[in-house]
């Protein structure tokens, strides 16, 4: 809360939750891989309840590593990472569906691996499939789905466990613009309904601003946070928000930050 507190209160969503403790917190986090690659340097920020934080930065600056550390997939080498690992949803770059399972059985996977009973996980999956608008496709196999539908299925799989923290590792990068914007809106619907905290990685400035309560800009490797931009628009956000002048202003600031990061 200390160093990031001031920006937090500018965002309307956070007001009501600000008394709760941060769901995800990095303190002076650094990461040096065994081969000597210095990937992250002195990263400090937290994601509060009701916050949706997006990290943008040049390729290879360590954004994904940040998520891997948060989820426990990678062990960091310095500083602290504080998060409840039992309540994390992780959305990968690819949908990462098991091709031999139907949509229904893919959505059930996480719950199944956590030992949830058959009837309970089936009911949860049905609910999640409704939330991501995949009703009617339950019995299809991944090869029968479009890219957007695969990502929806992947989202649903994470939703089944009702995570408090959702980590998104550039999930929509491979999709066409229309599908991507549609999924952005759907992610925001889920964000409001499920009340999770989001940490999102992307290359797209427009996506970052549209989704987030805050955008963090990372420098080239070793990645540091070089800008922290509050996004003041209230939720629910309409698709057309993207075309307003206020949106343009914020996007311009993120864009300039990115240009600096590349310098």
């Amino acid at each position: 809360m200390t160093e990031t507190g001031s920006t937090l209160h500018e965002s309307p969503m956070t007001e009501q939750h600000s008394t709760e403790r941060a769901r995800l917190r990095f303190e002076h986090l650094s990461m040096v891989f065994p081969d000597g690659t210095h990937t992250l340097d002195d990263i400090s920020f937290s994601v509060e309840p009701g916050e949706f934080v997006t990290v943008v930065g040049p390729s290879g600056c360590g954004k994904s590593t940040l998520l891997r550390i948060a989820s426990g997939l990678t062990e960091h080498t310095g500083g602290h990472c504080d998060v409840d690992r039992d309540s994390i949803g992780y959305v990968f770059q690819d949908a990462t569906l098991l091709p031999w399972r139907t949509v229904q059985r893919n959505v059930e996977l996480n719950a199944e691996l956590h030992g949830m009973s058959r009837s309970e996980r089936s009911a949860k999956a049905t609910e999640a499939i409704e939330l991501v608008n995949l009703v009617g496709h339950e019995d299809k196999y991944p090869k029968q789905l479009s890219g957007g539908m695969k990502m929806r299925c992947s989202l649903a799989r994470s939703l089944v466990l009702n995570p408090k923290v959702f980590l998104f590792d550039e999930p929509f990068g491979a999709l066409d613009e229309i599908t991507r914007e549609r999924l952005n809106s759907e992610v925001l619907d889920l964000f409001q309904r499920e009340q999770f905290s989001g940490l999102f990685i992307t290359h797209s400035v427009s996506e970052a601003v549209f989704l987030s309560t805050r955008v963090l800009v990372m420098s080239q490797r070793p990645g540091r946070i070089i800008d922290d931009i509050a996004v003041p628009f209230p939720y629910p956000r309409h698709h057309d928000l993207r075309y307003g002048p206020e949106f343009g202003e914020v996007a311009a600031r993120v864009s300039h930050g990115l240009a600096e990061a590349h310098a």
Binding site: T96, L109, N133, G136, Y141, K143, S146, T179
Partner: protein, 312 residues
């Protein structure tokens, strides 16, 4: 073909109307691909076209013609009977005779004996080969320990092993099975192993995030993902098992007569028409077992794996 498209519209009419969703979300081309995919893998079978059948039929006719030509024009009567009896003689003497020691009957009986060895051997090779591959996959140390010997099994000329197998296990069924398994097991081991190893890194991450145990990982991710590779191995092994069983017949000469030994006998006795039929029957058996494994593979993989549509 209409069944697949109708499920899209039919199931969700009273809920979210997924068709509208689909039209808006998926660009037209992608939607077309989705429908395409369901159609090519749906129950609709390809119709047999004359253009597909004619070329092999014409070639077959041509080969039979050449056969007659060589038989009658290039050979005198004496050589003809021994080296290349014309097709109708092969059919008359080899195929259409049903007696205890002549014609097709002993050939089919011998094929049954050999076929059983091949099938049982293939089954043993499949189970044992997959088990070995799984053990290699579970432990790096096991992989290092076992793999060189798996390669040795493959490169050893099986004939060189025959005397040793004979000394240890005699001339009976056990020895025939061992020879068969030795030939068939290597492709099962390697294909299963590399299938297990090729599991996607992100799938591993997914299972790690869900705190899956090693056996869960194997059972729910690596093994199903390895099925296409495993079936490739089994198809190669099927051919090998037939060869192994026939080779076994030649060398382990106790018990019921197998097709390999029968072929050997016919060759020595100059019963050429029956020799031809025996060779053709054993080839057909090899094809049959290969096709059976292919059909099994298609049945298991059809719903989710692209290669399944091209198999057989």
């Amino acid at each position: 073909m209409s069944t697949d498209t109708s499920t899209d519209t039919g199931t969700g009419t009273d809920t979210v109307t997924p068709t509208d969703e689909l039209d808006e979300v998926v660009p037209a081309t992608a939607a077309a691909q989705v429908v395409d995919a369901t159609m090519t893998h749906g129950p609709a079978r390809k119709r047999i076209r004359w253009g597909d059948v004619a070329p092999p039929v014409i070639l077959f006719t041509f080969i039979v013609g050449v056969w007659y030509f060589i038989s009658y024009v290039m050979m005198n009567e004496q050589r003809r009977g021994v080296a290349l009896p014309p097709p109708h003689v092969v059919i008359d003497e080899g195929l259409l005779v049903w007696e205890d020691n002549r014609g097709i009957r002993p050939i089919l009986e011998a094929m049954l004996v050999t076929g059983r060895v091949a099938l049982v051997g293939l089954l043993i090779a499949a189970v044992l080969g997959m088990a070995i591959a799984i053990v290699m996959n579970l432990s790096r140390g096991m992989e290092r320990a076992i793999f060189p010997y798996a390669v040795v099994i493959q490169t050893l000329p099986i004939l060189a092993l025959v005397p040793i197998i004979t000394i240890w296990f005699g001339y009976g069924l056990t020895s025939r099975l061992i020879a068969t398994v030795l030939i068939a097991i290597f492709p099962v081991i390697t294909n299963t192993f590399f299938g297990l190893m090729s599991a996607d890194r992100q799938h591993h991450d997914l299972f790690t995030l869900n705190k899956a145990s090693r056996m869960t990982r194997l059972w729910k991710m690596e093994l199903p993902g390895a099925m296409p590779a495993i079936f490739t191995g089994l198809r190669i092994a099927a051919g090998g098992a037939v060869i192994g069983a026939i080779v076994g017949d030649f060398f382990f000469r106790r018990g019921d007569i197998g097709i390999g030994r029968l072929i050997d006998n016919y060759a020595k006795e100059l019963r050429t028409p029956e020799l031809f039929v025996a060779a053709i029957v054993s080839s057909l058996f090899g094809i049959l077992i290969f096709v059976l494994v292919g059909m099994l593979s298609e049945r298991v993989l059809r719903s989710w794996h692209d290669s399944a549509a091209r198999v057989t």
